[in-house]
């Protein structure tokens, strides 16, 4: 798969049953440790330990499968799963960069993995030091003064941040009752409005300008005494830097609101410009994007939140502190804190990986990371926007940052082939699809974020595949519309999956459906 040699790439396909269908009564998968006979004889029968009315009457219908068969089962399933270690994964907004192997090693060290969160701090100094140092680094990278590592994901960080905006208006401006609106551009990630709503706010949508940026006039017309804050990502979701950020920040601050930075796109600007320097008051960072911790098929991630000094008192508890003698502790004594947003201190295992990643690259490496991520995105944008049927909407002559949003609306008009069809056809060439139909301000959007991890050859291959798909769309559109052909399975019926009559969310429900169907025969 080097250079422009275009080949179909066949994904592994196993006809692998559900684990329940591998059930063989009497097989044992693993011998779990039981109670010693001497303990059993000393404490007496279970009936004396557990109230009879609370005893389970029959064991759950879990499958009985042997250890070797379980190993094959999940190995085969894993082989039917595309990942960053399999190939290019230009999923826009998700920053699917390489996840260093050493980071996995670090997180699995028994000194971290086998640490209980409630152990005496004297026995957890290394973990606390790691968290403290990571907080300092993240504050420096974002230009903030204080950081919490507690939120478990980006959206969780957003909600934590908006809760702090709320606390700010309760305690500082005293205008919490009146300030009940959060302003959000129409190009924003869906989590922004959802997080604001979960924090009890009304969402006011700001339309984008013709350049795809925040429309300043529109912003001015809604910013005012009801504004609690603005949520913004910069560069924004079309991959363009909001050049008027100074004016945007001025309007929001003058109205008495705070500026929240959605860090989903931070991979574009590390070491170049910092949210704290462009006027933002709060920021969350997706460690599973920018700091390379793996996405795990959907999580766990981590969404630390950084704030300016004046907001530090509202951060969730506990906070990690360093005492004068150089030892570390957890501090719960922050009466104005928004409280706890999660058990304990965050997704610690993810924090270890992020620490190792930042330590490996250092300041110069992070800056170089952003430069190359931006270079790759612009290289792809340049070539892909010249492919027949594809175009680069908004701010055409302005460089993209870490990602570009391509519109396939021309191709759809010319050939009937949609962004979704292109996405599916890409899978046949061993490339993951970009994010499709997002942001909402672009028709037939293909949001491409190559990241800095791709080599020149891989970028050329991606471009070459998109050229080939455009050619196919014009010559044999049905080929594209029928894709994928080389994935483990052909296109799936999502309508059927969601229809109340066929909705099947568990083996239990499936079995009952089967029984009902048999009963009707």
């Amino acid at each position: 798969m080097v250079g422009h040699t275009l080949d179909h790439v066949r994904q592994a396909k196993w006809d692998e049953p559900l684990i329940f269908e591998l059930h063989r009564p009497g097989i044992v998968g693993h011998l779990f440790p039981g109670a010693e006979a001497s303990i059993v004889s000393e404490v007496g029968p279970l009936d004396s330990l557990i109230p009879p009315e609370m005893r389970r009457s029959s064991p759950p219908a879990l499958p009985e499968v042997s250890e070797p068969r379980i190993v094959r089962h999940f190995t085969r399933l894993s082989q039917m799963n595309f990942s960053v270690t399999s190939g290019t994964y230009p999923l826009g907004s998700c920053t699917m960069k390489y996840n260093p192997a050493v980071d996995e090693f670090c997180a699995a060290l028994p000194g971290f993995a086998m640490l209980h969160p409630l152990q005496d701090p004297a026995t957890t100094q290394g973990a606390l030091e790691l968290m403290w140092e990571l907080e300092q680094w993240l504050a420096e990278i974002t230009g903030m003064d204080a950081v919490t590592l507690q939120p478990a994901a980006g959206a969780h960080g957003e909600w934590t941040g908006v809760m702090m905006v709320r606390a700010y208006h309760e305690h500082v401006t005293g205008e919490s009752g009146q300030r009940d609106e959060i302003l959000i551009p129409d190009s924003a990630h869906g989590t922004n409005p959802a997080s604001a709503a979960m924090a009890g706010y009304k969402v006011v949508v700001i339309p984008s300008s013709e350049e795809g940026l925040v429309d300043l006039d529109a912003l001015k017309s809604v910013a005012g005494p009801h504004t609690a804050g603005l949520m913004l990502t910069n560069p924004n979701t079309i991959g363009v830097f909001e050049k008027d950020i100074k004016e945007v920040a001025g309007v929001v601050h003058d109205a008495g609101g705070l500026l929240y930075y959605d860090g989903a796109n931070l991979n574009a600007i590390m070491g170049v410009v910092r949210p704290g320097d462009m006027g933002f008051d709060l920021v969350h960072i997706n460690l599973h994007k920018t700091m390379s911790t793996p996405h795990g098929g959907g999580g766990p991630g981590a969404g630390p939140v950084g704030v300016k000094e004046g907001l530090a008192e509202f951060l969730p508890v506990p906070r990690v502190t360093r005492r004068d003698d150089g030892t570390f502790d957890l501090d719960y004594d922050h009466p104005k804190s928004i409280g706890k947003v999660k058990s304990f201190y965050g997704n610690f295992g993810v924090l270890v990986r992020a620490y190792a990643y930042i330590y490996a690259l250092g300041g110069p490496g992070l800056k170089r990371t952003s430069e190359l991520a931006v270079l790759n995105a612009n290289y792809v944008a340049h070539h892909v926007s010249r492919i027949p049927g594809l175009s680069l909407p908004f701010s055409k002559d302005v460089p993209r940052m870490h990602e570009c949003v391509i519109s396939a609306s021309g191709l759809k008009e010319e050939t009937g082939v949609t962004a979704m069809d292109i996405a599916k056809r890409l899978l046949d060439f061993g490339v993951h699809a970009p994010t499709v139909y997002f942001p909402l301000i672009v028709d037939e959007a293909l949001m491409i974020e190559p990241t800095e991890s791709e080599t020149r050859e891989e970028l050329d291959y991606l471009i070459g595949v998109l050229q080939e798909i455009s050619r196919e769309a014009h010559e044999q559109p049905d080929v594209v519309r029928g894709a994928p052909y080389y994935a483990a399975i052909r296109r799936l019926d999502e309508y059927r999956a969601a229809h109340p009559k066929t909705l099947t969310l568990s083996w239990r429900a499936y079995r009952r459906q089967q029984e009902r169907a048999e009963g009707q025969d």
Partner: protein, 466 residues
């Protein structure tokens, strides 16, 4: 010297050629749109780059400053379980195809993750005796918070959420943070100080037309088994509220599953199913509900459903489904803002539960029942020690109270000096319990370790706490 790094596979020559291709001279030209006044114009003040060898040395140095005790030396739980993890679980869950994938937005190339998550949902559904389990929330604490908010969406115009007075305080704190912006209030139901059981009369007194849900923990945070679940369930439902049950998955080889006593929503902590304590995260929020339209369409989080190919020949496959509930479609009207979840922890749990099977679940459930009862008896036999200090029947966790002027702190320090770790001190959370700690005993604790711990407590108490 030129900066090179293994994570950055582009040469300077590549860079120059690519810049030329797009009509630019210098890499800085790419950032021309960023106002100069905001540029950093200095190096980030963090650390220099390091080789992998240096990375691993630094991180191991930090790890070595910890004393990891979740191996049988610590008798502590309170939300994070110390359980045996079969080697197969770690080995399979670490496969990079699972680890380095994103959410399965392209189901055709993500059948491995989707089928595994469907199996996760299905295995837990069997254990909980409930039809729908989502593919994970962050942890049990946030799951309780989401459950309360879901109750208020399902039974409208109700804003009170009742919880046991003995509820896990960590979960309670998170629940409060989740409820406050929704205009919901959380109220604790009184309980019997001897048995820990919920006061039925107080529950009845509090129930009314503005109660959205009633939460019951079983086993409770303090370890006792709440044996009145049928009564609580009946009363909650008669008042038009939903019943939310918080359970310990590994107790359900022995205890009745929440689906059998009418729970509408079920939450649990899934970390114990194959994931290490890892200083409290990643955890795994288990979240399920009964298969009822009014519930399922209000469920937070991702769901994997079974379907088939669009065209013949039909093949079975799996997709993310009912996504109109979610933020990327519904935005501010979504059931939750959750996007990234704990999928890999759910994969881990699916592998663990596959190994467990019905007999493994029974073995572990019973081992914990026997061993925790044994530990409590050993401690209770000591002068100046009462265990369990609250509740009759316990499972896994139990309260130990020290009398005769012995402080929890002295016991805690004494155990640390002996290379052991006691339970969570309860004097701040439950001051009326006096000098007490919440101990946790699981299948990993051998009789020898339990005996050593009890003997150590005996020594400390016998010496008057010194």
């Amino acid at each position: 010297m030129e900066f090179r790094h293994p994570y950055l596979p582009l040469t300077r020559a590549d860079e120059q050629e690519m810049l030329e291709a797009i009509g630019l001279q210098h890499i800085d030209d790419l950032f021309s749109n960023i106002p100069h006044e905001f540029r950093l114009n200095r190096d980030l003040d963090i650390c220099p780059p390091h080789t992998e060898h240096e990375v691993s040395k630094r991180v191991q140095e930090l790890a070595s400053k910890n004393v990891p005790m979740a191996d049988g030396r610590a008798f502590i739980g309170a939300g994070v379980g110390i359980h045996y993890i079969p080697a197969v679980v770690t080995s399979l869950a670490n496969r990079s195809e699972f680890v380095t994938a994103y959410t399965s937005y392209q189901p055709e190339v993500s059948q491995g993750m989707l089928q595994t998550l469907f199996e996760y949902q299905s295995l837990l559904a069997e254990i909980l005796a409930i039809d729908v389990v989502n593919s994970s929330l962050y942890d049990m604490a946030t799951a309780v918070g989401e459950a309360a908010r879901m109750c208020a969406r399902v039974v409208r115009r109700r804003s009170r959420f009742l919880v046991p007075g003995t509820m896990n305080p960590e979960h309670r704190a998170v629940l409060e943070t989740y409820c406050r912006p929704a205009g919901m209030t959380v109220e604790a139901i009184e309980y019997d100080r001897k048995t820990g059981l919920m006061s039925i009369s107080d529950l009845e007194g509090r129930l009314g037309e503005d109660v959205a849900g009633v939460y019951v923990e079983n086993p409770s945070y303090l370890g006792f088994i709440e044996s009145q679940v049928d009564e609580i369930s009946r009363l909650a439902h008669e008042a038009g509220a939903l019943l939310v049950a918080g359970v310990d998955i590994l107790s359900l080889g022995l205890l009745r599953p929440p689906g059998e006593y009418g729970a509408d929503i079920v939450v649990a902590e899934g970390q114990g199913l194959g994931s290490p304590p890892s200083f409290g995260g990643p955890l795994l929020g288990v979240f399920g509900c009964r298969m009822e339209r009014r519930l399922v369409y209000q469920l937070p989080g991702r769901l994997v459903g079974m379907t088939r190919t669009v065209k013949e020949p039909y093949e079975r496959g799996f997709v993310l489904t009912l996504s109109p509930r979610e933020q990327h479609i519904r935005r501010e009207k979504a059931t939750s803002n959750i996007c990234s979840n704990q999928a890999l922890s759910a994969v881990t749990a699916a592998i663990y539960l596959s190994l467990l099977g019905p007999s493994g679940l029974q073995t572990v459930s019973e081992a914990i029942a026997y061993k925790s009862a044994y530990a409590a008896r050993r401690l209770d036999s000591l002068a100046g020690v009462r265990a369990p200090a609250i509740g009759n029947a316990i499972w896994k966790e139990f309260v130990v109270t020290f009398t005769d002027g012995i402080t929890v702190e002295s016991v805690h320090q004494g155990l640390l000096e002996r290379g052991l770790h006691g339970g969570k001190a309860l004097h701040e959370e439950f001051p009326w319990l006096g000098e007490s700690m919440l101990l946790s005993v699981t299948e990993v604790h051998s009789k020898e370790q339990i005996d050593r711990m009890a003997a150590a407590v005996g020594e400390i108490v016998g010496a008057g706490g010194d």
